[in-house]
Symmetry: C2
Subunit: 571 residues, 2 copies
Amino acid sequence: MYNKLLSDIALGKRKADLVLKNCQIIDVFSHGIEKGDIAIQDGIIIGIGEYSGKKEIDVENKFVSPGLIDGHVHIESSMLAPSEFSKLIIPKGTTRVISDPHEIGNVKGVKGLGFMLKSSLDTPLHVHIMIPSCVPATSFETSGSTISSEDIYSLKNREGILGLGEMMDYPGVINGEKSVLDKLDIMKDTNIDGHAPGVYGKDLNSYLLHRIKTDHECSTKEELEEKVRRGMYIHLRQGSATRNVKALSKGVTKHNSHRLLFCTDDKHPMDIVEEGHINYNLNLAIQEGVDPITAIQMATINIANCYQLKQVGGIAPGYIADLIVFDDLNHIEPSIVFINGKQVSKNGKVLFKTNKIENIHVINSVNVNVNEINLDLKLKNNHVKVMRLIENNVITKEVHRTVTVKDGLYVNDPNQDILKIAVVERHHYTKNVGVALMEGYGIKNGAVAMTIAHDSHNLVVVGDNDKDMMIAIQELKDIQGGITIAHNGTIVDSLQLEIAGLMTNQEFNQVKDKLIQMNKAARELGVNKKIDDPFLSLAFMSLPVIPDLKLTDKGLFDVKLFMPTKIEVSE
Amino acid sequence: MYNKLLSDIALGKRKADLVLKNCQIIDVFSHGIEKGDIAIQDGIIIGIGEYSGKKEIDVENKFVSPGLIDGHVHIESSMLAPSEFSKLIIPKGTTRVISDPHEIGNVKGVKGLGFMLKSSLDTPLHVHIMIPSCVPATSFETSGSTISSEDIYSLKNREGILGLGEMMDYPGVINGEKSVLDKLDIMKDTNIDGHAPGVYGKDLNSYLLHRIKTDHECSTKEELEEKVRRGMYIHLRQGSATRNVKALSKGVTKHNSHRLLFCTDDKHPMDIVEEGHINYNLNLAIQEGVDPITAIQMATINIANCYQLKQVGGIAPGYIADLIVFDDLNHIEPSIVFINGKQVSKNGKVLFKTNKIENIHVINSVNVNVNEINLDLKLKNNHVKVMRLIENNVITKEVHRTVTVKDGLYVNDPNQDILKIAVVERHHYTKNVGVALMEGYGIKNGAVAMTIAHDSHNLVVVGDNDKDMMIAIQELKDIQGGITIAHNGTIVDSLQLEIAGLMTNQEFNQVKDKLIQMNKAARELGVNKKIDDPFLSLAFMSLPVIPDLKLTDKGLFDVKLFMPTKIEVSE
């Protein structure tokens, strides 16, 4: 890029296209604040000092920091297409994300990644893609696709790919399983994200032999400290379900902060709008006593260093002009956001347009035939294992209950807080249906169903009668994915998620209105009021890597024993 | 690299080949000290904790830190082949160097780089090569070779290449000259080293537009601070001639130290043996009040981060087992050095062997014909510019003197402290000879000549009579490079530097003995006793980028005006 004009602008011989005047510049390199102007041309920061521009914006001594980076996010959790997602987070100051499209990967494999790569071109947000490392997550469920080591090899050098997504199969890594290590070996020259909740000591040593760099699953100060000592970069995560910033902020010191990062992992659109995005992580950490500039480093230059992103994460000549302007160093709420030197948001308003991405490969993902689905739950005795929902948590508790059995089949007892739950394979018409029992949800005369069901994203449905459950399944087939509520034989309401059954091209406001409406409807049908989100709480019932009991399309799964299990309690 | 054994060792199920027991491990990630064992296998650190090994070394609670890295070095300045150089620095704790073969590049171009790449395979020292960016340094001299942007392009992805060497043409960069920016553009995805002494403000902004990362030319705290603020990594340099650690240590803070590094740049073999190598930088910085662990970070993980070296610079599972053991945290003098998990030095002794590299492309580099060389200095008047040598410095001072002229030719006056100096082109038989006058050196009835003459490394010779000067030139032709002293028509002594006229395959002790002997001989012939090194002081007389007056094979050069100049003072 030979461009004499840029040199002339840097030297003050010619005017820059844009100059931000009177900035208090956050210096993430040496942890300071510098007063000055910032000259910008062709999307690049050209100079810091005193400059004049063809256009000048007087930021009136407000703070200007590098744009914030989300170090690890599953965009799918927003239920919005990437372009629509970007409209929520850019006004909050996030200008770049490291996205692990693990969810759409489970549904649509490499084609799902292609969709994410392509659709990220349709927004000013910088999107890096990590190749999901664990698709499917386990062999105890039927995913829509697999991402093999051969796929990883062929994707490795594709434009937009930054590395390998969170290596969740930590037992496989620790124990040196070849199929897992092969994937790590293929990607060893890139960035490899970790996922190692509660892994310590020699297990951690073994996990780290293979160039895994990061962990976003730390939940205690001590875990953070050990992992940093062992060379890891640690994400302080604040998502919708998993909220670790408060606890981990106690572990931030002047000596280790340069190895600490921020991420959201999974965050719902309404939480983004209400709380903020990565700026919320910062604001929480600052509240907990983390120095504000240190917090900004953790969301900018530290992430750039960890993932070896060039000319990113700082305000310096030659750096990409991703900048945010804000008033209060202790509560970061950007008034202006620039990406590539262009104003993309002002006072919370989005200043850019995006297009809907139409992609034939990611729609039509609900492949079930209701006539071939049987929701009967056969029981050999009436003393059974029940998945006890823990409000606002992704684990379940295994409880044992006595239920009504007639002619060898489970029968709902309206006086018991127990519902039938089914996971219906929806990718390949396999007719697989796992049926089990669940406690603590509470719907009456109805059913709730959805195609978001981690990690294989089959169709999960819960209800007190089979008829409403079947109607709900049919509805999701008709709208090709989403969330629905059935009551007394009819559909109450549905949110369509036509992209892989996970995301929608609809605008956030439509989605929000629909979700508020459906949330209300679910409460009216008796769903437990202690559950913050009646739909999301179902999405983890099918994830067979989080204790105690989970249900996949292949049946009930005991996560502690890491094997399938019978519903009946063995005598 | 699938290797189940490593996982088993990490887990403690099998014994490691080597375990260092009872270490005080320097934790460069979170700035601490941890007690424990270090398990090593296949050159890799496998685990930290409690381990047992097939071989165990009890380090008895000594400190163990990552091996030290020299962030920027011209190996040629040691006058030793890389393998011999490594035998000096490894016992001092340096296990890795980032080498810029700028000198041999000027003599032998791409073939010289090839020699450095290949010969670095012959030592356990890890050697990264930066492609010299400025060969030749200027167009006012005749170098042996050029390294063009086409060469740089074709070298870029060669094994062992880490980036582009110090961009010394800072005026070219700052003013946006296309030929310079083209080189930077080719290498923009790699590492680019800077060289920007005293460049501040808008000039610095312009210099930094092109992804130049580092500077090792800072000489003041303020310069360091501004450059760090602008996103640079700064090397605190301690070489033989340029000694900046003391002044710059005052600029090290807990907030900027992660952007600070150490280097030697140019260091003579005797200084390495007497003072140390990078450990000397650390020890000096520690004396100046820099925290010892911070200093270690600056020589290990910070350099790895800056140059994006993977699994380097820390003690953690999966990291390369380059380790040093030492007693005193305030004075680092390694008792044991490990590279790739192998003991390479103990108590200052070298435990590895190297081979001489024979390479036909880098010998026979002195291409002159004494019969065609004329050392006459024609003068139109007797009032002339003289290069005043500044003792132990690389600059000269321009002074004006009246000298004796007979028949239009300069004649030496034994009562004046003025000698004839000549730079003889030695690469291409061009017969170019630049002749000028020099003050402050002081040899009587003799001459000193050498083929080390920055940056083009022509043959520089100084003397009070043409006969000895010619004999000295002939001697360097006969031995194909080196340093020689002539006196009263005969050669007193010579050091052969057969590799490009810069380095030798001889062992350090031979070189040392010879240099001590020749140093003594030079003193006896009257060389100014205030000059620490009678030979090195000549090596910079030909460098036309450092003020005031310099001499190249094309004649006298006024560095301040940056143009050739006449010897006669214009009236």
